[in-house]
Subunit: 131 residues, 6 copies
């Protein structure tokens, strides 16, 4: 029950098809997931977000698997269901094992716990932590 | 202006000192940061959270630097000032370069953006993403 | 699977019926949505929240459509499923087009992204921004 | 550096003064805290929010101290600095001891941790939990 | 559709069974809820989180019902579906009435409202609130 | 105390200066705010985020003032201090009056309140709200 129509390849405008083609080619898959089909209602936004994602998630100072696990960490913290499923699947495709996933969740849980202890107890930031 | 008194080593109970000693030994430092000094008002909680942190942040299926960067990602997402400063400092000590930090932030930014696009557009989770 | 019983008009106390009548009259509809039926378990809360909503969402310095879009922006940011569906429907009834909805989502996404970049990079607030 | 002017009693309109008087009388204090002085730029909002607060925080099925601690729990979870300071102070005035405050924080920390473990691992809700 | 396999008692390792047994004994129930079955994929994390939960939720300066209601407050604030269902059920088992639940929700709603008013209006913290 | 060095125009690389020039020209100002100076440590990210911002915040189906107010709504909801100051200043430059700002805050507060009531009471989404 999407709040935006899911635009299929067959009915899409040429500029949308061009992005869909690039998504499938970049990822080596033959289908488009629903996030992009919803975003395609605004072709400029589709192109912008996809190009952001392609640039940000490419290998660089961090490897792609680390980036996907950071994505999962943020998505679980925010409680985004769609993003948790899609980026956990992506991280698994890039090599995340069961043990890595469980450890990732432990770090996410701990960070969320201590974030709130710090927010509630309000200790001042130690000068040693300041750059 | 902490909401809990910051307990210094000199005035601390033996069970608090034992945790402080373990923190300094584990981290190879000679000082205790304010988070633990605030938490020390509840010695059982201090011991519990520290032992959690020690277990979760130890090397395992993920390396310690990756874990620190995940911690920073969660802290920036939650807007926790203390945790952002302390875990960014910790990640730098463990080898995070400027380029890695900036890329980490780009992933965190992108994930927060697409989390809300998914929350607003509400595309259904694709069956391909389900385990 | 509501965590509070959904109170139907027929079984409701007179003070609940009075609020239900006012909701239907104010909105020009002949049904009550589930949010109010759940809240009706506390008639004083039902009356209080409804009167808040009626006061806040009335035309004033901002027009009702702008207010509904702000409501959707907050609901998507918080990931509240019920509120995203109900206020997107309300915004559409008040004139939000597909193009407006997609642009709204782009702003929400961008703001969530830059919020976390600012939270992570921690630039000081420029004096020029201070009132 | 408030983003809204802080309206002092002396310069306030009669309807604002009436709310200020009621706040001071209800709380048994002789000063107005900055939150209300900022909100007073919209006298209708000041009156609405204050009357909500008075109704919600009054003794009922829950006692006022429990309500203040719930307020602190939400404020620490959201990372709201102003609200954490003001409601921790209010809870202390109503009898919250150091031990209660530290336990409260432990529950808040644990709940934030397990919330994210549940968001990331996505176990289905057990039928036994459904009302 | 859990993202982690749900480990049943019959197939579990002895150290997992030991935690399951302790959960059932501590709570006086004869079944294990899905959260623990998902967490059991990392037996060390299962044991750690369960022992945290047992320590934090035990009677102390706060009674167990107050602690469960604080848990519900945090879970509703974070929008964690699983935790809201499970801890609302737990709070009801410990004596939370309908009236208490509705009042709890009113406090949670008010706190979330005023948290954002404070975040947006940015009044400075009054010196009187500082410890 | 920024966690990333603030790069001044004089010391910046040509591709950073080109973005700075475009920011100043687009906004009709003669200074660069600290957010961009921090982001400039990653020139590709600086360019990407700025071009996103320019595209998203341009007039379209929504006018620029409405977009800035939505930005403020999200920033106050997330508790992002920097973004709240900078986008409130931007909204004021684009014509937001005191009355509009106070009404905006009332909507943000109400939406955050009802989001949590919906999250806690969990009424099912009414079929009438589904597109």
């Amino acid at each position: 029950m999407s709040l935006a129509r899911l635009l299929e390849y067959e009915e899409a405008l040429p500029e949308v098809r061009a992005v869909y083609d690039d998504i499938m080619k970049t990822r080596g898959v033959d289908w488009i997931n629903n996030f992009w089909k919803a975003l395609a209602n605004d072709p400029a936004a589709l192109k912008r977000i996809w190009e952001n994602a392609k640039q940000v998630m490419a290998p660089g100072a961090l490897d792609p698997l680390t980036k996907e696990m950071i994505y999962v960490a943020v998505s679980a913290t925010n409680g985004c269901e769609y993003c948790t499923y899609s980026h956990t699947a992506a991280a698994r495709r890039k090599g995340m094992t069961d043990a890595m996933f469980m450890e990732l969740m432990s770090v996410v849980g701990l960070a969320n716990e201590t974030n709130r202890l710090a927010n509630g107890l309000r200790p001042p930031v130690d000068p040693q932590f300041k750059p």
